[in-house]
């Protein structure tokens, strides 16, 4: 446990300016992605008419009111304001409020039967920020917990996905024909969504060679299974690189983009703060350095 804690939340050293900049970048990215989802869904929700599959809170509350008028826009506005309140530390419960409103927006948007996982990690990161702001007084600890908890749930999510595959299908999951079947499904989706579709070179190769299809699935499930290696500092960059590679593979073979996962993996997977520290030390009197010094001293 102690080893895991040190790998996720760091040691007793005081926070460097590079680390602070890195944490702030993480916070900004999470807010930006949340706002993008909120407003994209706000535009879509009024097109819906019936709740076919109640998810989350929709199991207990009828969320069809969100389809009427401007409720989805109102919810997005409220959540955006809460996010800004959280970022500027106006209220420590702001991120939690934003998360609950984000949840409402999600269950309204995905009430039609599709269970989308594209936003889950952004949601988990926002949850980590919300809990960090409520539980910790010290700003530096808030930041370390938010990033550490997000890293933990990232690793857990991938390993859990691999286990689901092994339970749902078994070792036979990697059979190449399974990938062919999913590729045909996605080809139908692309055709119906955009009106045209053609396979790319890699897809044609996979459709012609069963061993390539099997190898692609084997790489995918192995990478996912070892997702827990993302928890440890030493193996994190390797795990991140493999997971990003896997997402690029999914994009190229099945045309499914998990872009927000990739951006978060890119940020959390590598020790960018070391680079930031080096760059910041080049101009110690810069405005950015002064601003970061001031930020390090503030707390609730």
């Amino acid at each position: 446990m102690d080893l895991l804690a040190r790998n996720l939340f760091g040691n007793n050293k005081s926070e460097t300016r590079g680390e602070l900049l890195y944490y702030k970048l993480f916070e900004v990215l999470v807010i930006l992605f949340t706002v993008l989802y909120l407003w994209r869904w706000a535009e879509y929700i009024p097109k819906l008419g019936v709740v076919l599959l109640p998810l989350g809170i929709a199991n207990y509350v009828d969320v069809s009111f969100m389809f009427e008028g401007t409720w989805s826009y109102f919810n997005a506005s409220l959540a955006t304001i809460s996010l800004l309140f959280g970022f500027f530390k106006i209220n420590r419960f702001s991120y939690l409020i934003a998360l609950l409103l984000f949840h409402l927006q999600y269950v309204a948007r995905f009430s039609q039967g599709e269970i989308s996982h594209g936003s889950n990690m952004v949601g988990m990161a926002l949850l980590a920020l919300a809990v960090a702001h409520i539980v910790f007084e010290n700003y530096s600890n808030q930041r370390k917990f938010a990033v550490g908890a997000t890293i933990f749930f990232f690793g857990l999510g991938y390993t859990s996905a691999a286990i689901c595959k092994l339970i749902g299908t078994g070792p036979d999951w990697i059979a190449g024909s399974h990938l062919w079947l999913w590729m045909a499904e996605r080809a139908t989706d692309r055709l119906s969504q955009h009106g045209a579709f053609s396979y790319n070179f890699l897809q044609e190769m996979i459709l012609e060679n069963r061993w390539m299809a099997t190898l692609t699935l084997l790489f995918g499930i192995t990478t996912e299974f070892f997702g827990f290696l993302f928890w440890f500092k030493k193996t994190r960059p390797i795990a991140a690189t493999l997971l990003i590679g896997m997402h690029i593979g999914i994009l190229l073979t099945m045309n499914i983009s998990f872009s927000k996962y990739m951006y978060l993996l890119l940020l959390l997977g590598y020790p960018w703060y070391q680079l930031f520290d080096k760059l910041l030390s080049l101009k110690p009197d810069s405005i950015l350095n002064q601003r970061l010094n001031k930020l390090r001293e503030t707390s609730y």
Binding site: N12, L55, M124, K165, I167, S177, G195
Partner: protein
Amino acid sequence: MNYQENKKSIRILLILLLIHGGLVATHLGEFWPFSIFPMFSQAGNPWTRALARDVSAETSTEWDQKPIAQLPGATFAFDEVGINTNDVANYLQKAGQWDEQKIQGIRTLFGSEVNRRNIMLYRVQGKLTHNDSVSVLAQPFLYMTSDTTILNPDIKRSK
């Protein structure tokens, strides 16, 4: 973080993990943002998707199943009405018995486009055949015009 703060962080993480476990265990693996990430866990299972065609120029309505390349009419992209193909496909997969409310739900998704064009919505089904190749066939599902909505007579409809 010092030793005590690290311990506190792990304790909070365990509480979050318990909440995560409790919510996904009682909500079929999904309580956003918590999830067990079961996507693509059932490999080799047949699938159902949606496809629409503009059949305004067609003189008769056919209800028999065909490969996509042989479907009558012109291309109709869901992008044209700003709806996501997953939502239409999920209607076709998960709606169970069809009633007026669900049929109207689909018409609502297509918006005013059904007043301008005659649209045939297809239920596309894919499966692995016994020789391990993929078969994809489209079944006409719902015919929509400005004043008519006809459900495929073979589809179960509740009164």
